[in-house]
């Protein structure tokens, strides 16, 4: 008896997996001779969505450089509908380059494109990354007010799907 039940259950499971579900039968006796079937895609958000953000390498700024230094990233993503990609750039030293000599000297800079910038669910291609609408740059000032030396800051780039 157990073998029969087990065999029957196995058959039920096989049919449940492999046989399409038929919701409506149309035959000669049907009042309506037409029926609709919805076809839709499905997705696994974890497996099917992706994003790539390329961040710049460590970079050096020549002494006295007045023009903006570009530290932009580039983005490509394909996310679920309604989602956006957010990239945030923050300064470890509050938008200043601190002396590495141990002194308290600092070089402040004007930051552009820092903070959060968002990107549409479909942005770029896997091999064609796009830059943010506001380029990420820093413009150092006050070169004449501090001793010549090495000044450093660390920028952190953080990505989130929102």
């Amino acid at each position: 008896m157990k073998k029969i039940i087990a065999t029957a259950l196995a058959l039920v499971m096989i049919l449940a997996v492999s046989v399409p579900a038929f919701a409506v039968d149309i035959n000669q006796g049907s009042v309506s001779k037409e029926a609709n079937v919805d076809v839709k895609t499905s997705y696994d958000e974890q497996a099917d969505t992706w994003y790539t953000v390329s961040i710049p390498a460590d970079t050096s700024i020549p002494w006295n450089q007045a023009k903006a230094k570009d530290v932009s990233y580039q983005v490509a993503c394909q996310l679920a509908t309604g989602k956006k990609l957010q990239v945030t750039v923050t300064s470890q030293n509050g938008n200043s380059l601190n002396s590495t000599s141990g002194s308290n000297d600092k070089l402040s800079y004007a930051a552009a494109g820092f903070g959060a910038q968002t990107f549409e669910a479909k942005t770029g291609e896997k091999t064609i990354l796009v830059a943010p609408s506001v380029p990420v740059t820093l413009t150092v000032s006050g070169w004449n007010s501090v001793p010549v030396g090495e000044y450093k800051d660390t920028l952190t780039y953080t990505v989130a799907v929102i």
């Binding site: 390498a57 002494w63 380059l97 010549v148």
Partner: protein
């Protein structure tokens, strides 16, 4: 054909200069990355950023009988954080100004220098003074005339 190659090469060079190099890729498994920004001690042309200049007077005239005479020079220094600029004013060691009214005849006027050595910090824009002191006795015992000497300004960078 040459024009096309030239244009292509120009474009390649432009991109090589303008496009930042990307070092890391952020994705689902790696959502945070850091980039270090640091300054160089050379400018865009590769020239050393450390510099200084002092501006010294061409000549100074001391009124007859004036004992303390201040001479001013200006300093503009922009040095490495642990460097200082030394400025030293010296004479030939005799501490005398000379007056030669005629060939073979020389009179002297003794003087001394005060504050002739000074040290300036890595970021300095200032005026500095030293004093040429001529004692009253020297004035009183000297033949009146135009005495002169040459002062030498010597600069050096020292590590503090």
């Amino acid at each position: 054909m040459k024009k096309i190659i030239a244009m292509v090469l120009t474009l390649v060079m432009m991109f090589a200069i303008c496009v930042p190099s990307f070092a890391a890729t952020l994705d689902k498994d790696n959502q945070t990355g850091t980039v270090e920004i640091n300054t160089l001690t050379t400018d865009e042309t590769g020239k050393d950023a450390e510099k200084y200049s002092i501006t010294i007077p061409a000549s100074n005239e001391i009124p007859w009988g004036k004992e303390a005479n201040t001479i001013t020079y200006s300093v503009d220094a922009h040095l490495l954080y642990n460097h200082k600029l030394n400025v030293e004013v010296t004479n030939d060691g005799t501490n005398t100004m000379k007056f030669k009214p005629v060939e073979g005849k020389e009179f002297t006027l003794a003087y001394s220098l005060a504050d002739a050595s000074a040290q300036f910090g890595p970021v300095t824009t200032a005026e500095a003074n030293f004093t040429v002191n001529v004692a009253a006795d020297a004035w009183n015992t000297a033949v009146v005339g135009q005495y002169a000497d040459t002062l030498t300004f010597t600069t050096s960078l020292v590590t503090a």
